[in-house]
């Protein structure tokens, strides 16, 4: 019985790889399987090689597997490029003439078929574009999928937007592809997937889940500048915020985006912006203002490969220290790092509450792999969403306060807020050092009191922060520390190590700052061989751990700075090597 399967759709940008992959992911999800997708796209619209992998599993999965079982290539050059990833008994479908026959040792065990989908689509339906649905039909045959589920998805996609005729033609095209595959494949090549109930589950990207979290948390002002791979947060929210009474504003740059969010927050909205590396660099200036002026704001940073413009469509974890130590001056900030799409939702909701409670900027740090790819999750539980706006005085309470101090020095460092239009609440938000009312004050003693007030806000925040999560065996010599979307590869590496009689544990950090030193120290005390797993060159998380834990045991880095996110083998191999 098949328990785990990866299908890769490959072609040139503009071939419909994205469409085909998206539909396949949804189709397999509707069969009750756990899904993780991965797009490997160039940063252009048309012409260059792209591929889209859909992994389906009966077990809960969070990342890609090590191998591909079926490759469907719209472009025959893709075959040679991806041959090393294809499993021993894998199947390769190629559309078109140009297939170069791989050498016998490369091809061993694999079967190769030609489909001629383009030609067939043109002949039967008059347009090449039908090849995508035909390909899905062909895969439906090989995977023994329920044709009615594909028909259902086709109808959902096209009926409202394009009408019955388009639905009919596409359903027929799916059938044609199905028959074609039946004709050309041998029965033993089938990879039948058992259907399971698909209950209360969703297939969603990290970016969408962050957008959803923001909507549920009462974010009603969103300002941003387009950037890959964060724009999907905005592109999702833009469909909903106006209906909820809010606004989405495209700004001239990221400087404006964060400043505008700060203005909006000062005026009373729960406000947010999103960006990636280059935009984050521009936001550093206003980030510091948020700290000084104590304005709540949420910033989602979906990391891509840098430095500079880097590779906008490739994932990386290279901006970890940017928000933790970044910008001028010293001020409190909170950096959260979700490891699953469910956490993208939960941590975003939490981010808004933390921002309001501690009156500081909160960063949700993810990466392209999490942001743009789709994963199955339990449907989000909105009954757990609570909106806590922190130390807000009400307009009524303010009337009883003749001498309101917006930056009042308090024991916990957190001061009461008022909003413009509220009587008696008049104050100044001041980027200069200021007194308790917000007015500029250069007195050295005042300066000391104010910096201490701001910096102590997070002293006792840890119960409110997202604690690290521990995975794996209670007793283990090998331990992993990581954050974000490396979670999937780490968890599967742990399974593979267990099969090798090597038990291991994983400490998943969900709050990177304030640094969860107590938990990390304890974890390090309990294991013998700690590995820090990160998708960057220099080991930024390991650097952070060493800076916060002293003395610190020797940490081993498992680093991957390639354009491809981790696969389990990238983690298993160095562990095995270290024990040889």
């Amino acid at each position: 019985m098949i328990k785990d399967l990866s299908v890769m759709i490959a072609g040139k940008a503009g071939d419909g790889v994205l469409f085909t992959g998206n539909v396949l992911a949804k189709l397999l999800k509707r069969h009750g399987w756990e899904i993780v997708t991965s797009r490997d796209f160039p940063s252009n619209i048309r012409g260059e090689a792209t591929c889209y992998t859909v992994r389906a599993s009966l077990d809960k999965i969070y990342g890609l597997g090590d191998q591909v079982n079926i490759l469907l290539a719209f472009d025959c050059e893709a075959i040679l490029a991806h041959l090393p990833e294809i499993a021993e008994n894998g199947i390769v479908f190629c559309d078109g003439e140009g297939v170069q026959t791989p050498s016998p040792e490369q091809a061993r065990g694999k079967t190769f078929h030609r489909l001629f989908l383009r030609a067939l689509a043109k002949e039967r339906f008059g347009q090449e574009i039908f090849k995508n649905v035909m390909a899905l039909g062909a895969l439906s045959y090989v995977l023994d999928l329920d044709p009615s589920l594909l028909d259902g998805i086709i109808s959902e996609m096209f009926l409202k937007r394009k009408g019955e005729e388009v639905v009919r033609k596409n359903t027929e095209a799916a059938r044609t592809g199905f028959e074609k595959a039946r004709e050309i494949t041998a029965e033993k090549e089938c990879h039948p997937l058992t259907r399971r109930p698909d209950e209360n589950r969703v297939l969603i990207s990290g970016d969408e889940a962050i957008g959803f979290g923001a909507l549920a948390a009462g974010c009603r002002y969103f300002a941003a500048y387009p950037i890959c791979p964060a724009s999907e947060i905005w592109q999702w929210l833009v469909h909903y915020l106006p209906d909820f009474g809010g606004a989405v504003v495209q700004t001239e740059d990221e400087l404006a985006a964060l400043n505008m969010a700060l203005g909006a927050s000062f005026a009373g909205a729960r406000a947010m912006t999103s960006t990636s590396g280059p935009g984050a660099s521009l936001m550093m200036e206003a980030f510091s203002l948020a700290g000084m002026a104590e304005i709540p704001v949420v910033i989602a940073h979906v990391q891509r490969l840098g430095p500079a413009t880097g590779m906008p469509t490739k994932s990386q974890q290279g901006d970890v220290l940017q928000w933790i130590f970044g910008s001028h001056g010293e001020f409190p900030r909170i950096v959260l790092a979700p490891g699953t799409v469910g956490e993208c939702f939960d941590l975003t909701v939490g981010a808004f509450n933390l921002a309001d409670k501690y009156q500081c900027p909160v960063i949700i740090l993810t990466e392209l792999d999490m942001g743009q790819n789709f994963r199955t999750s339990r449907a989000f539980d909105f009954s757990q969403v609570a909106i806590e706006r922190g130390k807000f005085l009400s307009p009524g309470e303010l009337l009883g306060i003749p001498d309101f101090k917006r930056y009042e020095i308090t024991d916990d460092g957190i001061s009461p807020r008022s909003l413009p239009s509220w009587k008696n609440g008049v104050h100044l938000v001041e980027s200069l050092e200021h007194d308790e009312k917000g007015y500029r004050d250069e007195d050295p003693l005042n300066r000391n009191r104010m910096v201490e007030k701001r910096m102590r806000k997070l002293d006792h925040a840890s119960p409110d922060l997202f604690a690290p999560r521990t995975w794996g065996c209670q007793k283990a010599d090998v331990g992993f520390i990581g954050f974000g979307s490396t979670l999937g590869a780490i968890l599967e590496a742990m399974e593979q190590l267990r099969a090798n009689n090597i038990p291991s544990r994983f400490l998943q950090l969900r709050t990177l700052w304030p640094f969860p030193a107590a938990e990390v120290r304890q974890f390090l005390a309990e294991i013998r061989e700690p590995f820090v797993v990160e998708h960057n060159f220099s080991g930024q998380l390991a650097t952070l751990i060493k800076s916060q834990i002293s003395p610190c045991v020797e940490l081993k880095n498992i680093l991957n700075y390639s354009t491809r996110p981790f696969i389990p083998g990238d983690i298993v191999e160095p562990v095995l090597r270290s024990r040889r």
């Binding site: 009462g218 009603r220 002002y221």
Partner: protein, 286 residues
């Protein structure tokens, strides 16, 4: 109508004779004429001598970063369009480091009043050249004379689709205050560029110099602020600096286009979780 003292929080400490005194007075008068409550007025400032205004003026204030007054002010206005939002900047703030924000706030026609106090140099930092410094002028940063050609804010505003473009002179407070008042009443973005002498660092563009060089558009026979071609003509005059309401047009404000309901400000929305509605949205992902 309120007395202008209503908005007076502290006596300013600008250099004696600074044009900012006139701006401060004109802004108080305009607010008084419009009878705005202190809590319904937000003054957003940039960085420069003008930025001290928040300390002296009794109203909600936001003294942010150098050049970034526009996005902050726009965020405030969109979240609560009932507020009277006045942004104040210097020439460095508006036409140098914040030029991009200036043009885009204009283009969006956000309902802000933007007062740009132009003293033709960076005064707070001791007198370096700014984008409006005369060509050839000797400043702290240009000992051999400025090699940059100056730009003109109102002309930029006209080119960018500005819907209320005025220029005043801080030596003529009553006139200036009437321009600010009209700008605050304008539905959309109002620019009031102000010729404002820096008595400490700019010995060229003095009160007397401005008096000799300004020309009031109101004095031009038949001048109509709705006539764009005429506005270009007065702005392009080789010797005279046009002051007064140079151009005005009606165009929908950004907030009227973007906000679902201006009567229900984002600032006072009920954020309660509507789980049923969210679950319906969640169905898209099934």
């Amino acid at each position: 109508m309120k007395a202008k003292e209503f908005y007076h929080r502290l006596n300013p400490t600008w250099c004696k004779g600074c044009g900012l005194f006139g701006v401060f007075d004109a802004l108080k008068r305009a607010a008084a004429a419009l009878d705005v409550e202190s809590e319904d007025l937000v003054i957003v400032t940039g960085i420069g001598c003008h930025g001290r205004l928040n300390n002296y003026f009794q109203a909600y204030g936001f003294h942010g970063l150098h050049g970034r007054a526009m996005p902050v002010a726009a965020g405030i206005k969109l979240v609560n369009p009932r507020l009277q939002v006045v942004a104040v900047s210097g020439d460095g703030d508006a036409y140098s480091i914040g030029l991009g924000h200036f043009i885009h706030a204009l283009r969006k026609n956000v309902g802000l009043t933007y007062i740009v106090v132009d003293n033709r140099l960076f005064a707070l930092t001791q007198g370096q050249a700014s984008p409006t410094t005369d060509f050839g002028m000797v400043t702290l940063s240009t000992p051999l004379g400025s090699k940059d050609f100056p730009i003109d804010g109102p002309s930029l505003a006209l080119a960018a689709g500005g819907t209320f473009i005025a220029r005043g002179f801080s030596g003529e407070v009553a006139h200036l205050s009437s321009l600010i008042e009209r700008g605050m009443k304008h539905d959309g973005f109002a620019l009031i560029d102000i010729l404002s002498p820096c008595v400490t660092h700019n010995k060229v563009n003095s009160y007397d110099w401005y008096k000799k060089h300004i020309s009031h558009v109101e004095d031009l026979p038949g001048y109509n602020p709705g006539d764009k071609a005429k506005a270009w003509e007065v702005l392009a005059h080789p010797e005279k600096i046009a002051v007064g309401l140079i151009y005005e047009e009606a165009k929908p404000s950004f907030e009227s286009l973007v906000l679902p309901d201006r009567e229900k400000p984002i600032a006072s929305l009920d954020l309660g979780v509507d789980a049923q509605r969210l679950r319906k949205i969640m169905d898209w992902f099934r």
